[in-house]
């Protein structure tokens, strides 16, 4: 049984009742008096010079207030920040002089209604002169390629090479080596709610109020800078429910645009992306990456070293997205004992929609490439994939375990989690089922992946990839307040997009104060009242917000004990805190109750200890555990503190005539330390798996040769439905983290970090009898069919058809 009274136990969330009754409040529900609406004019070209814009016909239409172009907008605002060291790269919400991708916003039309704004947007005449474009990362790196940002002088905006440990020596001594390319297709999280923002400028107070569907660290600061406003002139209201994000809801350019329009026009202005605006010009596509993998290993299956060259197509502009090549450094050898690693990371500009942060921040593509590597080694040695993993997984007794790139894994028992998953799926029976299906003429396979989920990040990859950046803290905070009536309120400082943070905060505060969590209210400060927060990114809130809430609640508890000690004229050690009452040890009748203590704190200064503030509230700002340091000379730094582990097993059958895969049993063994709310953790893990199924089999932002997005609707960008996602079973294991308040680790990216690798493993196992293999995601029906066809008809094969689909 758990040592906790609320943590880890089944508990309904605080958020669900308002959502099932239709009482959520999303940004599209924010209706401000006199509010105006925006529609956008988007570029039809991947690369072009803007010759002329004629807005007069649009402006003449009734209900139209303004048409703003890049000329005006870029003069009135500053560029958004680029995360990497590329000072000549500028980025504005509206293009000026040139457009760099199809869908880029060229002009914004403001009207009384969205419908009128759309009507008018169609009347804005833009004359373009098409320019050469490039939409392939390797071509973009080649000499003579069209430059996306000529001022930068190259399409490469980041190139870093790290060598950790004796890599060349390991490759020289190893008995075998393998090399191959793994490719991760451009997909994203694609929330069902598009991005939206509403803003209102108050000329009296000179404050810009912002309501947005946002998940973005340091968002108010960046909005204020771009609008040339002081930081305290932007007030972001975090009490807006966000309809899904999983990383991508960064919306900086949207917010700067709407803020500018609201201030210019003196009306509240709202922009809600339609689906095409979201998919094409919303700048929310994800990693688009290939990995040239080399691995050195021995005949007994011992992995000695690997070299990873990762090239990522970041699209036409960059914010934090290139840093998605940085987070994987914190788990660059996966869950395996690999003593030497080389990592060569390149971020390349192309004429495609800009990339944004996606669940896992680059870890899932990297896990996919590493797991393909492990499966290929097993195949080469004709060794069982599970035995190979068991041999190389870090063993329980080796924690804390420091990897070559400098991060120390806090804790884990990978073998136990894998064994639990194998038992839950009845692995021998699954193997028999696969073999019988194969006898019936089916292509059947079992997928396996063992992956890490780094969590609680302190963003140290920023420093690693950009030496001009010295970020070494990524704190989060909580304020706990007990009012005169004795009610407890937790104040958090960011918005949520489904992670159940109100449940998290109330459970943790309830645990520490021994008060019923359902009586603890959780509210969100706006950004001018908020304590520091870095928003729910990097699977960090259970660790960071949970730790901050616990820290603040502990201070309340200490204050209550101090008040009692003062009144009993004894030492705090002589007292016992129980359920909010404080009693003398050994004399439970001699106590001050919760109500009495609260009353003293709020009204009776004469009964307060001399060094304690009246009122009853406490804040706690928590630095990321293990954070705070700059990298050493070899580029070694602790990037994330906690490491959750997941072992996926999945069964797939493929129709050999159509290439259509059907997923069968799916088990995920998962260890994220102590779970604060198991239902929330399981839900996010299942959601991550579904998202991984999409990335592995269905979802791709495809582009035509002329640079047009060919997947701008849900009819061609395919999200998995309940018919594609099989029943999912999560098997829990708990290895507490020694670094966190309750032993919790992060879990917001769970499932997604191992599912694509597992499904790729399953499809390749199914293709193995044909001696066919696919190393490119997504493995669409067509790609699978082509692989089958090429294997069956080698005479028809021309190169590598699957690599091109």
């Amino acid at each position: 049984m758990s040592e906790y009274r609320y943590i880890g136990r089944k508990r309904r969330t605080k958020e669900d009742p308002r959502f099932v009754s239709g009482r959520g409040r999303y940004v599209a529900d924010v209706a401000l008096p006199g509010m105006k609406h925006v529609a956008l004019v988007a570029s039809p070209h991947a690369s072009a010079r803007i010759v002329a814009i004629d807005a007069k016909p649009a402006l003449a239409m009734p209900g139209v207030l303004a048409v703003v172009t890049g000329e005006e907008f870029c003069a009135g605002t500053d560029s958004l920040a680029t995360g990497v060291d590329a000072p000549r790269l500028t980025r504005f919400a509206l293009a000026k002089d040139v457009v760099r991708y199809a869908g880029e916003w060229v002009a914004a039309v403001v009207a009384d209604t969205r419908a009128l704004a759309e009507d008018a947007a169609e009347r804005v005449e833009v004359e373009y002169e098409p320019l050469p474009h490039v939409i392939d990362a390797e071509r973009a790196m080649a000499a003579g390629a069209p430059l996306v940002h000529p001022a930068h002088g190259s399409n490469v905006i980041l190139h870093k090479r790290f060598v950790w440990g004796p890599v060349d020596e390991a490759f020289a001594k190893a008995q075998h080596k393998l090399a191959f390319r793994a490719t991760w297709g451009r997909s994203a999280t694609v929330p069902i709610e598009t991005f939206g923002v509403a803003a209102q400028w108050n000329a009296g107070t000179e404050i810009l109020d912002v309501w947005a569907s946002i998940q973005m660290p340091k968002y108010p600061d960046q909005v204020a800078r771009a609008l040339r406003l002081p930081g305290n002139a932007v007030r972001v209201h975090y009490d807006v429910d966000v309809g899904g994000s999983y990383g991508v809801k960064r919306g900086l350019k949207h917010t700067v645009l709407v803020g500018y329009l609201a201030r210019k026009l003196g009306h509240p202005v709202r922009f809600i992306e339609d689906r095409l605006e979201n998919m094409r010009g919303g700048d929310m596509q994800g990693p688009d990456r290939f990995f040239d993998m080399q691995v050195a290993f021995d005949s007994d299956g011992t992995l000695r070293a690997w070299k990873i060259r990762a090239v990522d197509d970041v699209g036409a502009y960059a914010g934090r997205a290139p840093f998605q090549l940085g987070k994987p450094i914190t788990a660059i050898c996966g869950p395996y004992r690999i003593p030497a690693v080389e990592y060569d990371a390149t971020s390349v500009l192309t004429n495609k929609t800009p990339q944004e942060a996606v669940r896992g921040f680059g870890q899932s593509p990297t896990n996919f490439a590493m797991e393909r590597c492990v499966d290929r080694v097993a195949d080469f040695l004709t060794m069982d994939r599970i035995e190979l993993r068991r041999k190389n997984l870090i063993r329980k007794e080796q924690f804390p375990y420091t990897i070559p790139s400098g991060s120390t894994y806090d804790s884990g028992d990978y073998h136990a989690v894998l064994d639990k998953a194998l038992a839950a799926i009845d692995y021998p029976a699954l193997v028999r089922a696969r073999d019988e299906a194969r006898k019936r003429g089916k292509l059947a396979g079992i997928g396996i992946s063992t992956c890490l989920e780094p969590s609680g990040g302190n963003s140290a990859f920023e420093v690693l990839l950009n030496p001009k950046n010295e970020t070494t803290t990524w704190m989060d905070s909580c304020l706990v307040r007990v009012d005169l009536a004795g009610s407890v309120t937790g104040v958090m400082n960011t918005s949520s997009s489904g992670q159940g943070h109100e449940s998290l905060v109330s459970t943790v505060i309830g645990e520490v104060l021994e008060r019923d969590p359902s009586s603890v209210r959780v509210v969100r400060a706006d950004s001018l009242q908020a304590l520091p927060s870095n928003s729910p990114v990097g699977s960090r809130m259970a660790i960071m917000l949970g730790g901050a809430a616990a820290g603040a609640a502990k201070r309340i508890r200490e204050t209550l004990v101090a008040i009692a000690a003062h009144n009993f004229e004894c030492a705090p050690e002589d007292l016992e805190y129980r359920g909010g009452d404080v009693a003398l040890k050994g004399a439970p009748d001699r106590k001050l109750t919760w109500d009495q203590l609260v009353e003293i704190a709020h009204r009776k200064f004469h009964r307060m200890p001399p060094d304690v503030e009246p009122g009853l509230q406490a804040k706690f700002v928590w630095e990321v555990p293990t954070g705070g340091a700059l990298p050493d000379a070899q580029g070694r730094v602790q990037i994330y503190p906690c490491y959750s582990f997941e072992a996926h097993l999945v069964y797939v059958e493929i129709d050999p005539d159509t290439g259509k895969p059907s997923l069968g049993r799916y088990v995920c063994g998962h260890d994220c330390g102590v779970m604060i709310n198991p239902d929330i953790v399981h839900g996010m893990t299942c959601g991550g798996i579904a998202h991984g199924i999409g990335a592995a089999l269905y979802e791709k932002f495809s582009y035509t040769e002329d640079g047009q997005l060919a997947a701008g609707t849900f009819m061609d960008y395919l999200l998995p439905s309940a018919m594609e996602v099989p029943p999912l079973a999560i098997v829990d294991h708990c290895t507490p983290s020694p670094l966190t308040t309750f032993g919790q680790k992060g879990s917001g990216e769970a499932g997604y970090l191992g599912a694509p690798a597992a499904i790729a493993s399953a499809v390749n196992d199914a293709l193995a009898p044909l001696r066919a293999a696919i190393d490119t995601l997504p493995m669409s029906h067509l790609a699978i069919w082509k692989a089958i066809d090429a294997a069956r008809h080698p005479e028809r094969s021309e190169g590598s058809p699957m690599a091109r689909s």
Binding site: G22, A115, S245, I680
Partner: protein, 161 residues
């Protein structure tokens, strides 16, 4: 350009609602912007995601693909109309809370509409039938597992009564 208005009368969540609407106004825009029934959400506006699902005479429909004028003379039920007459949660809503069959809540209204329509027609659905019934409603948070569990739980509880 002033748009021509048409008079409509629709029964929404049991109440008669009369209005004059532009012919091109979608049903979802009318529900959300004019009636302020913001529980129904807009996800894709091309009929795929199902977030905007409402019941029209008891059948789930996409309110983004219908014009408000097409609802004239019909009965519309939105998520706000699913609660019991006393305002407390329906068995299905309660089951979604029990299994945590949602996260961000954005697809939830449409899921509830699709699942309620299923349970109205089939009080004892199999897991496969549940997946089929919600197969036209996309969720990015849950992977559907806890949604299916919620519908199964609600069906069990209603049958046990």
């Amino acid at each position: 350009m002033s748009e021509r208005l048409y008079a409509i009368e629709v029964e929404v969540n049991g109440a008669r609602r009369a209005a004059e609407v532009p012919v091109r106004m979608s049903l979802v825009d009318w529900l959300r912007d004019e009636l302020r029934l913001t529980g129904t959400h807009v996800g894709c506006e091309h009929g795929i995601c199902g977030a905007c699902s409402v019941m029209l005479d008891g059948e789930p429909v996409r309110s983004c693909l219908m014009y408000a004028v097409q609802a004239n003379g019909h009965r519309v039920t939105t998520v706000e109309g699913l609660a019991k007459p006393d305002g407390s949660m329906s068995a299905l809503q309660d089951a979604f809370c029990e299994t945590h069959g949602l996260q961000c809540g954005y697809c939830t209204s449409g899921m509830l509409i699709a699942a309620q329509a299923l349970l109205d027609a089939n009080p004892d659905p199999t897991g496969e039938q549940i997946r089929d019934a919600i197969g036209g409603n996309l969720c990015r948070c849950t992977g559907y597992q806890q949604i299916v569990e919620a519908v199964e739980l609600a069906a069990r509880r209603v049958r046990a009564k």
